[in-house]
């Protein structure tokens, strides 16, 4: 039996709804479903086999492809990079950048690396203090200036400190900024020009909906990102925004934030998301 558009209409609609309910952005869900439809129309299907299952299988493969692009082994990257490795964290307001830096600091310390954190959010109330608390708890040096200072200067100082003290890695925080704020996006570009990070990590939250596409797209366009840390996946988020972000940036999801404490950082595996969506 040859599959035609009519056979596929119901199952593909159901799959599209499932994607939308899992926070996959509408344009991304539509694009994925369209590509599956094109792939399946005209294919032979065995009599008695379930069209819905065929469609679901095609969807799993499509998602796996999106999530497996440019997969990055962070541990390998750290091993191979010349020290000090400079890692910059960027993203919109409240997504979990500062907390994720603290988690990555712990992760790297546990693996024998010496870490410096740069309090590059010189704007928000309590940002430097927040970083100092994490530094004290983790016994990690925090390089900071006064609030209101130049973020690029703080990060530059942190790199100089790391070089002078033979530290392996600088984790640089930045203020949250909306992708629509031209001045702040320019500021971010300037920070990148001055500090030349080895890795640009975009931090976004699994609980965000369609806006995840817009912000990932504009951040990636502004300063090409290396990869994403997707936070707050423990909030029962299905994690569809991982698909949206990976799809629009073509860059890997590196880590997942799975809670508010230091150990709550796990390496991203595409299978994790497939289980959440289809499990």
């Amino acid at each position: 039996v040859i599959l035609d558009e009519k056979d596929l209409q119901e199952p593909l609609w159901a799959l599209e709804m499932a994607l939308l309910e899992s926070d996959v952005a509408l344009p991304v869900a539509e694009e994925i479903v369209t590509s599956i439809r094109q792939e399946l129309v005209g294919q032979k299907k065995k009599i008695g086999s379930d069209t819905g299952q065929l469609a679901e299988g095609a969807l799993k493969n499509a998602i796996l492809k999106v999530l497996s692009r440019n997969l990055m082994d962070f541990d390998q990257f750290m091993k191979e990079s010349s020290k000090p490795v400079k890692i910059l964290f960027v993203g919109v307001n409240g997504t979990g950048k500062t907390t994720s830096i603290a988690k990555v600091a712990k992760y790297l310390k546990d693996r024998g690396y010496s870490v410096v954190m740069a309090a590059g959010d010189t704007f928000r109330a309590g940002a430097v203090e927040q970083m100092e608390v994490h530094g004290a708890r983790l016994d990690v040096k925090v390089v900071k200036h006064k609030t209101g200072g130049d973020p690029a200067a703080v990060i530059f100082d942190a790199v100089e400190y790391a070089k002078a003290h033979n530290k392996d890695v600088v984790l640089a925080d930045t203020a949250g900024r909306l992708h629509t704020n031209i001045n702040l996006m320019d500021q971010m570009r300037k920070i990148v020009r001055v500090t030349k990070p080895d890795l640009m990590i975009f931090v976004d939250e699994a609980i965000a909906g369609n806006d995840a596409v817009e912000r990932a797209r504009l951040f990636n366009q502004s300063v090409p990102i290396s990869g994403t840390i997707l936070t707050k996946t423990d909030a029962d988020a299905k994690g569809g925004s991982a698909i949206s972000i990976a799809h629009i940036t073509g860059k890997p999801i590196i880590f997942l934030g799975v809670g508010q404490d230091y150990p709550d950082l796990v390496k991203f595996e595409p299978e994790w998301l497939l289980d959440r969506l289809f499990g």
Binding site: M17, A125, E129, G209, D211
Partner: protein, 286 residues
């Protein structure tokens, strides 16, 4: 853009002499896409679009209204039903507790709200009952000091309900008391319990759910859990100065049968506006 394809569908209706099923279906499909891309809850979108379709096909346009205006009117009415008119904000003595997901903007909103009431002539105090987050005390203290607003917190006390109780006592001469709490979500049962414990101590007149405009399909379920735990009296939607449409937060309002009091449109204490349903809906539809 999606707003564009919805406008095109409505243009077709404008030039039609009467509404036929195909035209209505096409328009409803565009309305669905607009609502879904605005993060409105999927099930809610299906319910609303069915009602819009039925009404568009069965109702006669009121006198003087062409078919396109009639359909737009139906869409607006259905959405207004969900999000409601702006909540009343009483300018009198009250205690307000701010709750919500991690990073939604509660602490920033506490300072904004305090500034709002202070400017209306009410003596306002802010209490930091977030005993978990690194730097929470410093963040809120700095924001309040910049606005000359009374601030109470205690870095040495890890017990949030206790800080709230002592803070309310310290602020008893103030007209409006705003209690900031730590971020939490429905699956953190210990934190949901803590929120209930804080609520038992504070017994606020208003429990405002602070929600990020970019919140996706999680919104309704989270709001339901917060409502079940302590009862939501209103919602504040933050970060509407970006591109996020707030459909998730709107679904949360519909789910809890509450209303939106304020919206946040920036990071400074001045960036708080009263909610205007018509503006919100036209922005939502793109």
């Amino acid at each position: 853009s999606l707003g564009g394809s919805l406008r095109d569908a409505l243009k077709k209706i404008a030039s039609a002499s009467r509404l036929d099923k195909t035209l209505v279906d096409e328009t409803v499909r565009e309305i669905q896409r607009a609502l879904l891309s605005a993060d409105v809850n999927v099930k809610l979108v299906m319910n609303i679009s069915n009602r819009i379709r039925d009404r568009a096909l069965s109702e006669k346009p009121p006198a003087g209204m062409n078919p396109r205006e009639h359909v737009i009117n139906i869409v607006y009415q259905e959405l207004i039903n969900l999000v409601g008119r702006s909540s009343d904000v009483a300018l009198k003595k009250q205690t307000i507790m701010l709750i919500g997901l991690q990073g939604s903007g509660k602490t920033t909103t506490a300072a904004k709200l305090a500034t709002f009431f202070q400017r209306k002539g009410l003596r306002t105090a802010v209490i930091c009952a977030d005993t978990f987050r690194a730097g929470a005390y410093d963040q809120l203290k700095a924001l309040c000091e910049r606005q000359g607003i009374f601030f109470y917190g205690d870095k040495g006390n890890p017990d949030a309900p206790s800080v709230a109780r002592i803070g309310l006592e310290a602020a008893k001469r103030y007209d409006v008391k705003i209690v900031d709490t730590a971020g939490r979500h429905a699956l953190e049962s210990d934190l949901i319990q803590e929120m209930k414990d804080i609520h038992a101590v504070v017994n606020a007149d208003h429990k405002l759910l602070v929600m990020d405009a970019a919140l996706g399909q999680q919104a309704s379920e989270q709001a339901r859990a917060f409502n079940e735990a302590v009862g939501i009296t209103g919602v504040i939607i933050t970060k509407l100065d970006g591109t996020a449409k707030g459909g998730g937060a709107m679904s949360a309002v519909a789910e809890t049968k509450s209303s939106v009091a304020f919206i946040g449109v920036g990071e400074t204490p001045n960036d708080l506006e009263r909610f205007e349903a018509d503006r919100f809906i036209s922005r939502l539809l793109g």
